[in-house]
């Protein structure tokens, strides 16, 4: 104990003072939000892993090739992909200080997102109507959990987007709103990245199997 204290005392102490960055208020929000997104990615990773393990546990029920409609999935993928670039246009309009342009592109993005959720709900309704319910097999439980978690994220993204439209209407493009729009931008593009995993590993590989 005493020996340890002496060695500690002998070692020189350094303090790293790192204040080269001037932090404006809310300057760390974007990084914090990014770390939230990374933790969200881990939620999706566990859901993907679950789906991967259970993807052939059909329990005598329907198999992917029988129930998945690829044209519908292709349409949904296109909607989400186009909504990514329209959100990008909203961000560019925001940087250029064009409030009208920002709102216009946000509305387009929101409508595309709503169409995506609508088609997904239609797909779910069809599946349940055909008897491919989450209770039917482990494969279907994992499928509904993974895809619906993504759909729920998109739904919350749309709600956030509507809130931002009200904020923009009342307060305009002030720095706080710009920061919020940047967070929503990351959220929206992140959901598109997750969807790449969904359409590849769930739908395309499922139909291929």
């Amino acid at each position: 104990m005493a020996a340890k204290a002496t060695t500690e005392a002998l070692e020189p102490t350094f303090y790293l003072v790192n204040d080269e960055h001037h932090h404006e208020p809310g300057g760390s929000t974007l990084l914090g939000f990014w770390i939230y997104l990374m933790s969200d990615a881990l939620i999706f990773a566990t859901l993907f892993a679950t789906f991967g393990v259970l993807s052939t546990a059909y329990a005598g029920g329907p198999i992917p090739r029988e129930i998945f409609s690829l044209p519908l999935v292709a349409l949904n993928t296109a909607l989400l992909l186009v909504s990514s670039i329209t959100y990008g246009f909203a961000m560019i309009a925001m940087q250029e200080g064009r409030l009208g342009g920002t709102k216009f592109w946000l509305i387009v993005t929101g409508l595309l997102g709503a169409a995506f959720v609508g088609i997904e709900l239609f797909e779910f309704a069809e599946l349940i109507h055909e008897g491919a319910t989450p209770q039917r097999s482990a494969f279907l439980s994992a499928f509904f959990t993974l895809v619906a978690t993504h759909g729920l994220h998109v739904t919350f993204g749309i709600i956030w987007l509507i809130v931002m439209l009200f904020q923009l209407n009342q307060r305009g493009l002030h720095p706080e709103n710009q920061r919020r729009l940047q967070c929503l931008s990351m959220f929206w593009h992140f959901l598109d990245v997750v969807w790449i995993g969904v359409f590849t590993f769930v739908y395309l590989l499922g139909v291929l199997r």
């Binding site: 990773a45 560019i92 790449i196 291929l208």
Partner: protein, 121 residues
């Protein structure tokens, strides 16, 4: 060019990187190709299943990287490199979770009692 102007006017080039129309358009065009080709391969069944599987997984990985760079603007400069560090760390964890689960469960399946295919039984 436009990026530099924006960084100057906003005065924080170390913060969130600024979007450029060019990055979005390039990212979008690449994504369209990387989405359309896998769907086309699967829907027309041009190649055999194994080759198609490898190609569509490859396309997905490339598309995720394209989205990360062009849409999420992850680069070595944003937030002093922390965005990239967090991203790489998460990517490693995601790979361990997914690949590890599949590996372990596959071995468990093969080492357990022989199962007849559920559909044929």
């Amino acid at each position: 060019m436009t990026d530099a102007t924006h960084a100057d006017t906003h005065g924080h080039s170390h913060g969130a990187p600024h979007a450029s129309r060019r990055a979005y358009v390039i990212g979008f065009l690449l994504s369209v190709v990387l989405t359309a080709v896998p769907f086309w391969l699967v829907m027309t069944a041009t190649l055999d299943a194994t080759t198609t599987g490898v190609l569509i997984v490859g396309a997905a990985i490339v598309q995720i990287l394209v989205h990360t760079v062009c849409f999420l603007h992850v680069n070595t400069q944003s937030e002093g490199g922390w965005t990239l560090m967090a991203y790489i760390f998460t990517a490693v964890l995601v790979l361990i979770v997914i690949a590890g689960s599949l590996w372990i469960m596959f071995h468990l399946n093969t080492n357990m009692m022989p199962m007849v295919d559920a559909r044929s039984s």
